[in-house]
Symmetry: C2
Subunit: 141 residues, 2 copies
Amino acid sequence: MTTTRADRLPAPPEGTAAEDCGAASGGALLALDAAERLAEVAKALADPTRIRLVAYVAAVEGGTVCACHLPAELGISQPTLSHHLRRLVDAGVLERAQRGRWAHYAVVDEALAPFAAFVTAPAGVAPTAGCGPAGCGPAAC
Amino acid sequence: MTTTRADRLPAPPEGTAAEDCGAASGGALLALDAAERLAEVAKALADPTRIRLVAYVAAVEGGTVCACHLPAELGISQPTLSHHLRRLVDAGVLERAQRGRWAHYAVVDEALAPFAAFVTAPAGVAPTAGCGPAGCGPAAC
DNA sequence: TCCATCTATTGAAGATCGTCAATACGATGA
DNA sequence: TCATCGTATTGACGATCTTCAATAGATGGA
């Protein structure tokens, strides 16, 4: 049973372990639908190739993504590139404009903003912290 | 072939499409290892249950996560909860301290910071934008 | 009209993931 | 010492994901 850096965690005050479990009885977790939306963005980014694509699109003026060389640079095939771009568009992370033969992409900041807020301050998106029925936790469960 | 909101993307200037492809010849993508590290955090968060767990841990004073009620509240079994917590710890998103029978968790801000920076400003983590060999892009490829 | 280019889709295969039942392990209290 | 509690691990199953070969579709130029 592995233990990480225990010293990093504040020790709960003596005799208050049960209450430390959560301030409010019936404390709520983040709503499932909100969590699912955040998880969709995370899933879209849960691949190094897609991370690189988003970084690339964000950095390129005008957002043209050239399939002609990206597959070689990314070490993937053209259909795989198309698949990843599709995944990013489906998740709303990128948006796509077709101009003639060429597809142009842009990062959708509005799609990333809630996720950025979440990873910057995870507690900020949770409703009242709590851990269930009153009296839950060490010494009480 | 779906088209998203084309008007959101700036049209490249006339006659500059090729150059729009990227400013620097041999333009680099984000390094693969950097992308893999970012993708690891995204993978850890690519599940609504783990999103809720991280939000919960961040919100709870002292970070005690009570398995006694969380499975029911999350709609999962105790082994699945344990699995998810393990995934988050392995990814470095959470850290864990065992105190007697009880496990205490805390969010590792340092692990989330690079990812937060990435989703806040994806272009900021890419090296010089570019799209490969000089002259790449519409009209040049 | 035909050909080239850029991109998307389909199908398949292997890998990974989320889930739970069963079980195991360590800590604690009687 | 034994029972209970909180948590972890194992194994298995179904679902999802990543990949590429083959192919298709749209656009543009000759």
